[in-house]
């Protein structure tokens, strides 16, 4: 047993990478939920993004093209969800679950023939001097671009919701769609755009797994990351910066328990692995949960 073998700097640096796919997907879902829509299909959109991104990268050799295609693929798939829930007024919970089922099947079909191929390496940023600095170097300057894009996305969403007029409208639609409609906002259009943004982000998150973290295509490779993203949005009580904390906490618990194991501590893994979810419930209780968007999950029909 040896605490000394755990290097906190590397621990933080690696949990930042571990958290990135979840941050990307959760950032999208946060916007979707702030617009009052609950899309439980994150897992399906992530895995679709993972395979679409992988296919494009495998053919073009460019990771960036892959990420672009993944975002597009995720957005297209989410458009299906938008069509059903916004125009055909289907139930969001059931539609989201169907979307996950659909996405898992679609990705496995698309991915036939892509097993066992390795994706080209996605270069890390390497700034001379800075990356080599002790402590801050590995944590702040040693990652691949998507890690920074994930964090930048959080910042952008925060600014968008807080300062922009469009963000205000989005929040209004999410809080009370009838009132927003009465004020003349296009509830369906805004929500459709939000859903597509969510799909694009989930696609990016999935592609990060298939292009950077693993980087290879295997069926079902997201292995539940989409569900964790959903949990983190709740944990964050729909606040962008808390989302970052939540994702690091979730990733951190995993990385920490692995670290403790490797250092020779006998720890009850099962109990540690359920702790983030219990923490999420506690946060929900402590936040008094009045903070959930008012219209979350409710069907909106304009003609009343």
């Amino acid at each position: 047993m040896d605490f000394g073998s755990i290097n906190p700097v590397l621990l933080v640096a690696s949990l930042m990478v571990a958290a990135t796919p979840i941050i990307l997907a959760a950032a999208g879902e946060l916007i979707v939920e702030r617009a009052g829509v609950l899309n439980l299909g994150v897992e399906g959109m992530m895995i679709t993004g993972a395979i679409v991104g992988f296919i494009v990268t495998a053919h073009t050799g460019s990771s960036w093209a892959g990420f672009g295609a993944a975002a597009l693929g995720g957005a297209l798939l989410s458009l299906l969800f938008a069509l059903l829930t916004q125009f055909l007024l289907s139930n969001q919970v059931a539609t989201g679950l169907a979307l996950t089922l659909f996405g898992l099947g679609l990705s496995a079909l698309l991915g036939q023939g892509y097993n066992g191929i390795k994706a080209p390496e996605f270069a890390k940023i390497d700034i001379p001097v800075l990356t080599d600095l002790p402590v801050v170097g590995p944590i702040l300057f040693g990652h691949d671009p998507m890690v920074y894009i994930g964090i930048a996305l959080i910042a952008a969403i925060w600014a968008f919701l807080k300062y922009s007029r469009a963000g205000l409208v989005l929040r209004a639609v999410g809080e009370n769609h009838d009132a927003a409609h009465a004020l003349g906002y296009h509830v369906m259009r805004i929500r459709t755009l939000a859903i597509m943004f969510g799909g694009a982000c989930a696609g990016l998150g999935g592609a990060y797994i298939s292009l950077v973290r693993v980087p290879q295509w295997t069926d079902g490779m997201t292995a539940g990351a989409g569900w964790i993203a959903l949990a983190i949005v709740v944990f964050a009580s729909w606040q962008p910066w808390r989302l970052l904390i939540g994702a690091y906490l979730f990733g951190g618990v995993t990385v920490l328990q692995l670290n403790l194991q490797a250092a020779g501590f006998a720890i009850p893994v099962e109990y540690l692995s359920m702790s983030p979810y219990i923490a999420t419930i506690l946060v929900l209780v402590l936040m008094n949960a009045g903070r959930a968007p008012g219209s979350l999950g409710r069907v909106f029909h304009a003609s009343r």
């Binding site: 073998s5 755990i6 290097n7 590397l10 621990l11 690696s14 990478v17 571990a18 796919p21 496995a108 991915g111 036939q112 097993n115 066992g116 191929i117 390795k118 797994i209 973290r213 693993v214 980087p215 290879q216 295509w217 295997t218 069926d219 079902g220 490779m221 292995a223 539940g224 990351a225 990733g251 995993t254 990385v255 692995l258 670290n259 194991q261 490797a262 250092a263 020779g264 006998a266 009850p268 893994v269 099962e270 692995s273």
Partner: protein, 361 residues
Amino acid sequence: MKRRTLLASGAGAAMAAVLGAPLRAQSGKTKVGFIYVGPVGDGGWTYQHDQGRQAIEAQFGDAIETVYAENVPEGPDAERVLTQMVLGGANLIFTTSFGYMESTLNVAAKFPDVKFEHATGYMTTDNVSVYSARFYEGRAVQGHLAGNMTKSNKIGYIGSFPIPEVIRGINSAYIHAKQVNPDVEFKIVWAFTWFDPAKEADAAKVLIEQGCDVILQHTDSTAPQAAAQAAGNVYTFGQASDMAEYAPMPRISSIIDNWGPYYIERTQAVMDGSWASVSTWDGIGKGMVKIGEISDAVPAEIKASAEALRDRIAAGEYHPFTGPLNKQDGSAWLAEGETADDGTLAGLSWYVEGIEGDIPS
């Protein structure tokens, strides 16, 4: 062969259960069924079994027919799929996951003239064989390479679940790493999953960060390979499949589950009518465990000694669990020259002396 009227008459299932084969669809060809717990595209466990299925097709061509169902959950779903396979005319069925044990036995009892082969199980009946591979033989070669290649003397091991299969592998690797490098130390983490690329990547990174420069894995994805590649001077081994795309570095060798020869042999036995229930536990010698090409990243003399070890195991000259060996608590296990019996190995649930840490229980 059209017996639809009889079968449609409600009592059909009961009759089928009693009479077995006569009511099944039949054709002249031998029909071989496979039931998989994962998708054929998992690149690991199920993928290798499906390679075995394709090997049969390549071998026998039109003389046989194969069918498979993938992603079948263990339990009632498996039992139903197996029954449907039998009704569809399968003569021989490979059930490729430990969790299919009860389903296999139940269906086999109903259809005594259909042959079943259950992977990694331990229950045999007149028409159920069990087969498994001595992966620990491959682990011995890995341990030998790992002990030689490590500079930090810290070897990381990603375990899936604390079951005998995995524990055997850890012990075997440790014994042979220690043989060539007395200072070697194992760091073991349990991922509690067979397949979760993200978690496996985390586990590999953690081990690397704690100073390990060789990583052994008993989980199925290539994520640890990628993590090792990103880290630079870390060596890994392919698991289940060759993972040759990561050669020559970080992947310096691999253990390949090579089911093809066994599947061909058993299919041939059914075609000849010579099939009998057996309990097979084959290793490197019979080719069920293959050691993937040792890459050029390994110095020639180490490569040669590893290959020599492999060949001695294959020839039956050497058993990876040969005494003197003590258990972790210091009590004696095997005396000088004594080798472990298969019964003990099958239920192995403790570490050998020298490995630190507790097995989660």
